[in-house]
Symmetry: C2
Subunit: 397 residues, 2 copies
């Protein structure tokens, strides 16, 4: 086996970059060295030798000696430009940018194929959990039936604080931001947009389905109030922001929504910034993978694994996408059991196939009913800030 | 990508075989069919058509149409004969026989290489947890530092019953046997021999170290009594039978022993027949993989994944073994913190580097001390049935 000696050009130099530098330059445990690092602000103090830095992206992209570009910047559109150009120049690419990947996967695959390069992005989904690699390598057949879990460390940190530590939402959010778990724009986390990007990437590697983020329903955690928390505590539930997708014949369901989780469910133990992924396949019990899903070290370790894999010329084979059943499609007709909390009159009971529980009190009202996803998506009440929805479990059929 | 159409010959037809038949013949979701099944007892009633069965192994081994042998029998030596012969006939092999693999790995690799076949055995370690595949594919570099966890579902079932459900050891063991989690010879489970076989396979795929089971220290759970359980309960510990290995430079430590686990440790949540594997690597937080480690369906699902991988011609690359540092060696000089419970006088305190706690009472005595593994291995008191040893945490250096 021939290992390739890698020369890296890195875009972005936050803590992930600093950690990478340490492992690559100081321990020498991977056959890769950093040649150049492209940064935005030339005058920021840096922990390593100034010779590494440039503010000109072409210093990396046009350097024939650099054979791998590691893209670690925040801006998805700028990242897309860099990554595309790198592939056009014949360089392999490692990226952690889930937004860019979820939005541009078909174009990126096209470039990867055309320029015969490798494009790896394990760090983009659940940081240190090797979920993409497992979907590619171990669950590489059509036996997989569903993938679900906690894909966002920031909201899980917030929800754990709210439920286990009785800390109100605004404070919990602030704490998550202080710890560096939250995205620059917290809306991406708390409204379930970040896990939706990840779900798109999962859908591709789990089932070969290529779909845009706008096709996936997401509902966040920002409306959760004391009434909802009380309900959860009384029934011994945790609340988790769950992303899930499921295959049923040629139909795929996928959504991101806060969900009540029974305390004995292993996902209930996945707390704070941890992520957890549950894989279900035919003839198999559930598998659970747990690891830190936010923070610099977990992200850095996934980036490092991708770099290490490039020394062996590893590529995602995308088998499932290449052999996808053309009739495979995303659907939103699945039935779900949902908890709806409201204060005023609720006039859309007709949207529901059945109502299982109803509770009215001066503190607030809720009901639990069965509804299809498309009814929720197309409803007016889902847009009403005074109404909250929490899924009671996943697809009930 | 060309998929190979597989024709399987199966040795052994218990519940795993029956489950495989169902998935392969009834759902058709893997490009593989069963041609023949070799069984021991011709007259046992079978749930499927008699045309599949034979009692002559050569009916499978000499059939040129059968290109994959699936070995699911109990007897390790008979399994070795079958698997070796299958490879010599140019057939790929899937096996779940950890004892055979742990004891014969070098010879099996030799045959695999010589006859250019593929030999897969994911089901042999932690059943449904894809640990070998992850060590081969994702942790395929030298960044991995340790692998540890609960590798035996039967003892974990027993220990969970003893601690969570207050069921005495003999009853708990019986229950595990009734549920089909225990090996035919329960000594293999309760004395930590079964997890030792698995640890040998892990050592090979994690660090490239080939070693025989007899080189690994194992200590079981059969001596755990109420006094020990009380100690654990008082300190809020779980007791788990932990197999672990760790790399430090060119030295590898490896052992199987009952260990106190703090209640907040994720492994404490791995209960009953579940297995859990913790992977630690440089620059990364711990990863935890959880899944059922005993029973027919979990084993069957791993066997099925291997069969599915063969349709793509998958092989373990054994990179770490092929490029192993020749100075890499197993050592037993690491220091450990251990709890020792004794009734009579204990006269070997000199074996310990230090004693941290000492407790004497009419109900029993214990002390906690620091000791190197070789001192334990070579001691007389470790063989004394009236003395029990539980590790307080893993290697302390």
């Amino acid at each position: 086996m021939k290992r390739n000696r890698l020369k890296l050009g890195i875009f972005g130099f936050g803590c992930v970059g600093t950690g990478l530098y340490k492992v690559l330059e100081e321990t020498g445990s991977v056959e890769a060295n950093i040649k150049k690092i492209c940064i935005k602000h030339a005058n920021k103090p840096r922990p390593i030798d100034a010779k590494y830095f440039t503010t000109h992206k072409d210093d990396l992209l046009n350097d024939p000696e650099i054979n791998v570009i590691v893209e670690l910047i925040d801006d998805a559109e700028a990242a897309f430009e860099i990554v595309s150009e790198a592939m056009r120049k014949g360089k392999d690419v490692v990226s952690a940018n889930k937004k860019m990947i979820a939005e541009h996967l078909p174009e990126l695959l096209e470039l990867e194929k055309k320029y015969q390069v490798s494009f790896l992005y394990e760090a983009s989904v659940c940081a240190s959990i090797p979920i993409i690699r497992n979907l590619e390598e171990y669950y590489d057949n059509d036996l997989l039936t569903s993938v679900s879990g906690i894909f966002n460390g920031s909201t899980n940190y917030i929800l754990t604080q709210m439920i286990d530590d009785n800390i109100p939402y605004p404070e919990a959010l602030k704490e998550a931001q202080n710890k560096g778990f939250a995205e620059t724009d917290p809306t991406l986390d708390v409204e379930g947009i970040d896990p939706k990007y990840k779900l798109c990437i999962i859908l591709f590697h789990a089932f070969g389905l290529s779909t845009k983020p706008e096709n996936i329903f997401n509902f966040g955690i920002s409306r959760i109030n004391d009434f909802d928390l009380n309900f959860a505590t009384q029934r011994n539930y945790a609340i988790k922001l769950i992303a899930s997708c499921k295959k049923n014949g040629n139909e795929i369901s996928g959504l991101v929504a806060p969900s009540f989780i029974e305390n004995k469910d292993p996902l209930a133990y996945v707390k704070y910034e941890y992520n957890g992924v549950v894989l279900e396949s035919a003839f198999s019990e559930n598998q659970l993978m747990i690891g830190k899903g936010a923070g610099d070290k977990p992200t850095g370790s996934a980036v490092l694994s991708d770099i290490s894999a490039l020394t062996y010329g590893y590529r995602y084979e995308n088998k499932k996408y290449l052999h996808v059943d053309p009739s495979l499609k995303l659907e939103s007709t699945g039935k779900y059991r949902v908890y709806v909390r409201y204060y005023d009159d609720f006039d859309s009971f007709d949207d529901f196939l059945s109502i299982e529980e109803k509770f009215i009190s001066p503190q607030g009202n809720y009901f639990i009913g069965i509804i299809t996803l498309d009814k929720i998506i197309n409803s007016k009440w889902i847009k009403d800030n005074k109404i909250n929805v929490i899924f009671c479990n996943q697809n009930i059929e």
